[in-house]
Structure formats: structure tokens, C-alpha cells
């Protein structure tokens, strides 16, 4: 009898019962959140079953299963317990990065490429300091360019050295693009207009002074057949106003690699080519080797 009455009571007041349950849960969540609202290294503190002491090595029951759910809530900017979770996240965000041991940060940064590293340094001043770390840029230099120069200490730090090296590598590639596309005006822009610039073509001929060098390029560009080529083993050494680059040029006709040396000087805020030297093309003729004459 009593049970029937109570069950009828339950059914008719179903919604008020649900409201009461919801309210209780909400209050409980709010209370738990307040209790756990401190900067901590862990993730979501507003879980109902995480009332164990946090700093012991005992295994938590909620091992890895909830991470997926947490993640979606996190990335979508909060989810269920919106205001509470986001507030805790912001507090722990910056301090988390700070609490990372420096070697971890350096190690993680070593996986980045240089644009990402630069962007990271723009996020905040702490990241700027981390991203400007000399060792990170040194590692990036060794990864992107060469393992050489390990014992070199660049005067302005490795980041500046990386930037300068990248500038030289770019302009060196630009030189070969100009050769490939036979752009005489561009070649004229690239070289320094001075009487001491020199050019040693693969033909074995040499030219001295800006005008002679330009004429030689004009002649070279007028040749009918120009085979395509690949550049490899680019090695750069950059000093304040001077840079020299060595590379191997492989031409399709299989004549073996040409060893090329280019030298650049820095004037008026940009780099100019001042010297180009290519090893000469050797032609085997009946067992005898002779230098190709123009």
C-alpha cells in the first residue's frame, strides 16, 4: 500500500524530481569546482570521482578513457562546465609552459621549422625567449644547412647566422634561376658594378670587370643548347659583409659535376655577386683530354 502511494507520488512528480536531481548535481559540481580551482598540472578537475589525493603514485581508476571526451570539450572551447573549465585552463596555460623544464621546451622546439619557430616567438614574451634560444637555432642550422661549422661561434648568435645563411642560399638559387631562364637584365642587377668582379665560366675563359662579365653572360645566353642542371651540396660561409658558397652542379649530359664557387658582398642593404668560378668542362677526345675552347 505504502509503496504504491510512493510510486504514484514518484510518477506524478517526475519532472520536479528531475529538477531536484539536476539542481543537486549542479550544486555538487559547483562545490567540487571551487575546491579544485587551483593552478595544477592536471587536466579537468571537475570530475566527480577524482577525490583521491593527487600526488601519490597510485593508479587512478579513470586511466586514459576520458581523454577523448575531455579533448573535444577542450577544443570546442569549454563544453559542459563552460565557465569553470575555461577559467582553470587559462590559469594553468602560461604557468604550464613555465613549469616545463627548459630542456623539454628546447627539445620540442627542435622539431619545428623556422617559420613556425618565428611564429611561436611572436605569441608572448616567454615564448619569445624560448624561441630565441641560441641552441635551438644552432640545431635548426645543422638540420637545414650543414653539420659543418659546429665549432663556429657566430658573432650575432645562431639565429642571425641562420637568417643570413638562408638569405645567401636564396640569392645563390636565384643566380641559377637567372642562368636557367637566361635573364640578362636580372643578371646585370645581381652583379656588383665594380672593376674587380670576376667570372670564370665552364668554358675555361675568365672575365674581369663588370662590363666584360656582362658581355660574357650575354654570349652564354645566346647559345642554342643549354642542358638543364641540378645543384647539390650547397655549403655557405657567411661573414658580416662577405659570403662564399660552394656547390656541385650536375648537368644532364653526364659530364660529371662542376665544382662552382660564388662569392657575394654586402652593400647598401643587399647582397651582390662579385665572383663566379666554375670548374672547366673537360672533353675526352681520342684518349686525350683538352679544355674546351670557346
Amino acid at each position: 500500500m505504502g509503496s504504491t502511494i510512493s510510486s504514484i507520488f514518484f510518477v506524478t512528480d517526475y519532472w520536479s524530481f528531475m529538477v531536484a536531481v539536476a539542481a543537486t548535481l549542479l550544486c555538487f559540481l559547483f562545490a567540487t569546482a571551487l575546491v579544485f580551482r587551483k593552478p595544477k598540472l592536471e587536466g579537468s578537475p571537475s570530475e566527480l570521482n577524482s577525490l583521491k589525493p593527487r600526488d601519490c603514485a597510485c593508479l587512478g581508476e579513470d586511466s586514459g578513457v576520458d581523454s577523448g571526451e575531455e579533448m573535444t570539450a577542450r577544443l570546442s572551447g569549454g563544453g559542459k562546465e563552460n565557465g569553470v573549465e575555461m577559467a582553470v585552463d587559462r590559469q594553468t596555460g602560461a604557468s604550464m609552459m613555465e613549469q616545463l623544464v627548459p630542456e623539454i621546451t628546447t627539445h620540442a622546439l627542435s622539431y619545428l621549422d623556422y617559420p613556425s619557430l618565428c611564429r611561436l616567438s611572436m605569441t608572448n614574451s616567454l615564448m619569445r625567449k624560448a624561441a630565441n634560444d641560441d641552441n635551438a637555432w644552432k640545431a635548426l642550422y645543422h638540420k637545414d644547412f650543414t653539420l659543418e661549422q659546429d665549432n663556429v661561434t657566430p658573432p650575432n648568435g645562431w639565429k642571425a647566422y641562420y637568417a643570413a645563411t638562408r638569405a645567401i642560399v636564396t640569392i645563390n638559387a636565384e643566380f641559377f634561376r637567372i642562368v636557367r631562364e637566361r635573364l640578362l637584365p636580372a643578371m646585370g642587377q645581381l652583379w656588383l658594378n665594380a672593376d674587380y668582379v670576376k667570372c670564370f665560366h665552364a668554358t675555361g675563359e675568365s672575365f674581369s670587370g663588370y662590363n666584360a662579365v656582362m658581355e660574357s653572360w650575354q654570349l652564354a645566353f645566346s647559345w642554342e643548347n643549354v642542358a638543364d642542371f641540378q645543384i647539390q651540396d650547397v655549403r655557405t660561409r657567411v661573414l658580416t659583409d662577405l659570403a662564399w658558397v660552394t656547390m656541385k652542379v650536375f648537368v644532364d649530359i653526364g659530364a660529371g659535376p662542376f665544382n662552382v664557387t660564388n662569392i657575394f658582398e654586402f652593400h647598401n642593404g643587399r647582397w651582390y655577386m662579385v665572383h663566379h668560378h666554375s670548374s672547366a668542362l673537360l672533353i675526352h677526345r681520342g684518349g686525350q683530354q683538352q679544355l674546351m675552347q670557346a
Binding site: 598540472l41 592536471e42 587536466g43 583521491k52 593527487r54 600526488d55 601519490c56 603514485a57 597510485c58 593508479l59 587512478g60 579513470d62 586511466s63 586514459g64 581523454s67 577523448g68 575531455e70 579533448m71 573535444t72 577542450r74 577544443l75 585552463d89 587559462r90 594553468t92 596555460g93 602560461a94 604550464m96 609552459m97 613549469q99 616545463l100 623544464v101 630542456e103 623539454i104 627539445h107 620540442a108 622546439l109 627542435s110 622539431y111 619545428l112 621549422d113 623556422y114 617559420p115 613556425s116 619557430l117 618565428c118 611564429r119 611561436l120 616567438s121 611572436m122 605569441t123 608572448n124 614574451s125 616567454l126 615564448m127 619569445r128 637568417a163 638562408r166 638569405a167
Partner: protein, 117 residues
């Protein structure tokens, strides 16, 4: 009982899961790689940091490498705003400072879309 003061329970559980998988006798390299993918997939930033700290403290090379790679992947080729948002980084730069820093790094933005997401 060895107390580990720097690692909390949940992170340690994750580390142990990782180690169990990687020390299985019959787990091929490919199975391990697949496990790593699923294991680290969707880990949010705080968890990644914890895992990195734990792996560093316990000197677990493989896990440390994976987690750092994952952190780096989150930053690679993303815009500044995205990185700030994902890693919850507060910026105290003024807009003039930002312009100045960007100028400093101008060479890094050549040919790169700075707002790529």
C-alpha cells in the same frame, strides 16, 4: 614502494600503458606505431605537457620523442593566433611590439602565409 613526487596518478597510468605496449614481445614496429597514433591522438595540451614531463623525469626516450613531436606538430605551420589559442598562451605584447617583432623576422615570412591555419 618508490614515491614519484613529480607525476600524478593519471599521467603515470598513461605512461605505464605506453610502456606495456612497447615492451610486448610480439608487438611489431608497425603495431607499436599504430598504438602510438591512437594513444596520442586527441591528447589535449595539458596532458601532453604532463606526459613530456613524466617521460623526461623517467627518462623514457621513445615516449619523450613522440610527445615532443606531437607538441611541435601542433605548432607547425599554424598562424600565431592559432598557436596562442591551442597552447593557451597569453600575450602581453602591445600591437607596436608585435609589428616590430614581425619586422625582425621578416625573412621568415617570405613566401609563407602568416594566417594559414
Amino acid at each position: 614502494m618508490i614515491p614519484l613526487p613529480l607525476i600524478d596518478g593519471r599521467t603515470l597510468a598513461r605512461v605505464i600503458t605506453y610502456l606495456n605496449k612497447h615492451t610486448e614481445d610480439d608487438a611489431s614496429d608497425e603495431a607499436k606505431r599504430k598504438f602510438d597514433e591512437e594513444f596520442l591522438y586527441g591528447m589535449e595540451v595539458g596532458v601532453l605537457y604532463d606526459a613530456a614531463l613524466a617521460a623526461n623525469y623517467l627518462d623514457i626516450g621513445g615516449l619523450f620523442h613522440e610527445v615532443c613531436q606531437r607538441i611541435a606538430d601542433g605548432m607547425m605551420n599554424k598562424s600565431v593566433e592559432w598557436v596562442r589559442k591551442t597552447f593557451h598562451i597569453e600575450s602581453e605584447f602591445t600591437s607596436e611590439e608585435e609589428v616590430q617583432i614581425k619586422k625582425e623576422y621578416a625573412w621568415a615570412w617570405e613566401g609563407v602565409d602568416s594566417n594559414a591555419d
